[in-house]
């Protein structure tokens, strides 16, 4: 493998891995803030115990998300130094803003939240988790602004003297319509991930609490009072997020048909330019290229609507035609992304949505009017629903990032055509052996940590709400500060 391939594998693995944890953090922080607010407002201790229970899961996940995030920032310089030189004037700014306006807040206030349970007044402590919840979303905004410059460069022009892209409008960069669509879509996806997580764990516990084998009837009743509101809250947020995903995904898709026609043509395996093409449900091919694909199942009207919002009179460009067009404009190269990956990741992203959506509807039905579901299949459905949004998130980003290949900065059809860069131009000229070393290091380390992460989450979910979290600690008089035990300690 050459250094471009190894570097791409490393970036892909580390980024996909990082984005397993991030959506759960982004979505779970506001949900925990809502739970804690419900406790502070209603004084209902069930909400306190939920805050503590999901708070622990949140922190197990937060740690690994933060730890793997530093790699992301360093990698641009380490492995994509030519890219860093080319876009640094534009791309560095949102990263620095992310540090100043988001990471400082979330990392400082998470410390206050973890250790401040009895040190801070109740409302101040509540404000801490809200600041964390806002900050994680602000960080998502800035990193997506940076990513959107790669998808659709705006606010910058090419300077031939310095041979790089240079920023001329920060408002254009921050107001990039690609960023707006991608940010709302990502936040909706994160909320779905976290809401499904909360709802499914709640539902699983409800079924468990109803089992006749339970020898502790008190514990069962306890679990019901705690997890019922969690399941219902999670289901409603999941349903709203699913609807949000359709709308935000639709507007993002319509932008992509204009901004990156090659990505969308690949997603449809649309090889030749057609008017009112059918939407493909199943296409098979033997060689992963346009010469060997057969479109097996198709639906009319859908694709024109996805692209333009109307059902006919829509002409969409095919892969072959765009390839020819790019060759004419940008010189000889293969401008086609991996057809198989773009086609299937797009479908996986959409198809996987059905699982949490279906689960949320069933769960709301089964818990209606105070009912406690006892069906074994239902607790299985809950467990299956948890990973589905994670996989959908991954599929979506694999589609977005692999669909822009071979570009690292896709030329903007209406912008400065010189602001464009391919992954081959972007990579650091390392010996590929060295990058293989780091690829293996990260992959092994990440694999071990993933196993521990999963095991810890599972262990804490199965254990349920802990006894020592049953009652909130009484507010402490300041004179005790020097001698009283810490309310929390590592």
């Amino acid at each position: 493998m050459n250094v471009v391939d190894v570097s791409r594998w490393q970036f892909g693995i580390t980024t996909v891995y990082h984005f397993i944890f991030v959506p759960l953090t982004i979505g779970l922080a506001p949900l925990i803030a809502v739970m804690q607010t419900a406790w502070v407002v209603t004084d209902n201790v069930a909400w306190y115990r939920l805050t503590k229970f999901f708070g622990k899961l949140f922190l197990i996940n937060f740690a690994i998300g933060v730890a793997t995030g530093i790699v992301q920032e360093f990698q641009f310089g380490m492995n994509w130094s030519e890219y860093s030189r080319f876009v640094g004037d534009v791309f560095g700014a949102p990263l620095a803003m992310e540090g100043l306006a988001a990471f400082f807040f979330e990392s400082t206030f998470i410390g206050l939240w973890i250790f401040g349970w009895s040190r801070l007044p109740r409302l101040v402590h509540l404000a801490c988790i809200w600041i964390v919840a806002i900050a994680v979303n602000v960080s998502a905004f800035f990193i997506i602004v940076a990513n959107s410059f790669m998808q659709h460069p705006v606010g910058a022009h090419y300077n031939p003297a310095t041979r790089r892209a240079e920023l001329h409008s920060i408002t254009a960069l921050l107001g990039n319509n690609t960023a707006r669509a991608a940010f709302s879509h990502t936040v909706a996806g994160s909320l779905l991930t976290a809401a499904t997580f909360v709802a499914a764990i709640g539902a699983w516990w409800l079924v468990r609490s109803g089992k006749p084998a339970t020898d502790q009837p008190d514990a069962a009743a306890d679990a019901r009072t705690i997890f019922r509101p969690a399941a219902i809250l999670g289901c409603w947020v999941a349903l709203i997020a699913t609807v949000g995903l359709f709308f935000t995904g639709d507007s993002q898709g319509k932008l992509m048909f204009v901004q990156q026609p090659m990505k969308m043509a690949s997603a449809e395996s649309l090889c030749n330019t057609e008017t009112d093409p059918d939407f493909s449900i199943l296409t098979v091919g033997t060689h992963n290229n346009c010469d060997s694909v057969t479109r097996v199942i198709e639906v009319p009207y859908v694709l024109p609507f996805l692209a333009k919002g109307r059902f006919n009179d829509v002409t969409l460009q095919g892969v072959r035609n765009i390839q020819q067009d790019y060759q004419n404009r940008f010189g000889p190269n293969d401008y086609r992304p991996n057809l198989f990956v773009t086609y299937w990741s797009f479908r996986a992203m959409i198809g996987l949505l059905a699982i949490p959506g279906l689960f949320a509807v069933i769960a709301l039905w089964l818990t209606r009017g105070g009912r406690v579901p006892g069906q074994r299949w239902f607790s299985w459905l809950a467990l299956i629903a948890i990973p589905a949004p994670f996989l959908a998130n991954i599929s979506g980003w694999v589609f977005t990032e692999m669909g822009r290949q071979p570009w690292i900065v896709v030329p903007n059809p209406t912008g400065d055509q010189q602001v464009r860069f391919t992954v081959h131009e972007a990579v650091s000229h390392h010996a590929s052996g060295m990058v293989v070393t780091s690829l293996v290091t990260f992959t092994l380390l990440y694999a071990v940590l993933a196993v521990i992460w999963f095991w810890l989450l599972k262990r804490y979910v199965v254990e349920g709400p802990l006894e020592h979290d049953a009652e909130p600690a009484a507010p402490r008089s300041p004179s005790d500060d020097e001698v009283a035990p810490l309310s929390f300690a590592y």
């Binding site: 310089g77 030519e82 791309f91 100043l100 410390g111 801070l120």
Partner: protein, 346 residues
């Protein structure tokens, strides 16, 4: 002062913040195990007391590094690109260390099991030693210079990264952080743990002074400017004052402050020696990456200046407030029983 000078200063300040804050975090991580071994009383309580002195703050401290890195990217892309790609393997080791350290700190108390804790303690120790040594190496490499060619690209050889000067740099930062960590634990604890921390600080004081002084002097003589003599002098006086305070056990607060001044002095000395270069070329001085040929456009720098002027003071205020909230000393009695789960459900 132009924007390029200003941004060199801001990045210097971000690294200053990182080393002043994360410096004692690294020190605490490096000292946790030695503490537990020599201390009077239960080793596990010793470890936990040490770890909890940085518990609420270490995560926020680490962001100074992330922001410093992003600021390098935004303000001096040529610097960021050259340094990060050239120091690939040291940075890989630093990343490895910091990842292992973060999850070890956060996950350590989640399972109540001695093997689990031993694993986490190893992660915390390794994850603190690696960056503590390697940041010193990395900055020494930078000050010493790299074979930058006419296009700003670097073809690095092993001797550019590992040589007597850079190894001394690594030992100096690691030693300084050890001492700094001991002084910090003495400031933040009471009872037997404080006595132990104090004993460590006394034992470390002379070798660390020699290491840091030697590295500072070498840096000054080989790469320093006239005005950095002043920085070196202040740092040496602060170090001697810290040693005297530690020996006499006069004031934990002043000893900590003096050591912080030493850390600041080392960072200012290194950045002062570098200025106005970002990566001095060992092949031809004309080829060095400087703040003038390596910077972003004035427009980008101006925007980043506004954002920093707005956010940085706020950050200092709320981080400062966090230290105020958790200002109480920690003793063995104040460590609550472990709340982690057993490895297996009962």
């Amino acid at each position: 002062m132009g924007l390029q000078e200003l941004w060199f200063g801001i990045i210097g300040l971000l690294f200053l913040g990182f080393f002043i804050l994360e410096g004692f975090d690294f020190g605490v991580g490096m000292l946790m195990e030695p503490f537990a071994r020599v201390g009077v009383g239960e080793p596990e309580t010793h470890r936990r007391a040490a770890l909890n002195t940085i518990g609420p703050v270490w995560d926020g401290n680490e962001v100074w590094l992330i922001t410093a890195g992003a600021a390098m990217f935004a303000a001096f892309p040529a610097w960021y690109a050259a340094v990060f790609s050239t120091l690939y393997l040291p940075l890989l080791a630093i990343l490895f260390g910091m990842i292992v350290r973060s999850v070890s700190i956060e996950w350590r108390g989640k399972i109540d099991d001695s093997k689990w804790r031993a694993l986490a303690d190893f992660g915390i120790a390794a994850g603190s030693w690696l960056p503590a040594v390697l940041w010193g190496v990395a900055f020494a490499v930078l000050v010493r210079g790299l074979p930058v060619d006419a296009n700003g690209r670097v073809d690095v050889s092993i001797t550019d990264v590992l040589n007597a000067y850079t190894l001394l740099g690594g030992l100096a930062t690691a030693g300084l952080f050890l001492f700094y960590g001991a002084v910090f634990v003495a400031l933040k604890t009471s009872g037997a743990i404080r006595d132990d921390a104090h004993r460590f600080a006394v034992r470390l004081s002379l070798p660390v002074t020699a290491l840091v002084g030697g590295f500072g002097l070498w840096t000054q003589l080989a790469y320093g400017k006239d005005w950095t003599w002043l920085v070196l002098t202040v740092a040496v006086i602060a170090q001697l004052a810290a040693v005297a305070l530690v020996w006499r056990r006069a004031s934990d607060g002043w000893a900590f402050l003096c050591t912080a001044v030493v850390v600041a002095g080392v960072v200012i000395l290194l950045f002062g020696a570098l200025y106005p270069n970002l990566v001095p070329s060992t092949l031809n001085k004309q080829w060095s990456v400087t703040i003038y040929n390596g910077s972003s456009t004035p427009y980008t720098l101006k925007i980043m200046t506004w954002v920093t002027a707005l956010m940085a003071p706020l950050t200092v205020i709320y981080q400062g407030w966090t230290y105020w909230v958790f200002r109480q000393r920690i003793s063995a009695d104040r460590i609550p029983p472990a709340t982690g789960l057993a490895r297996r459900a009962s």
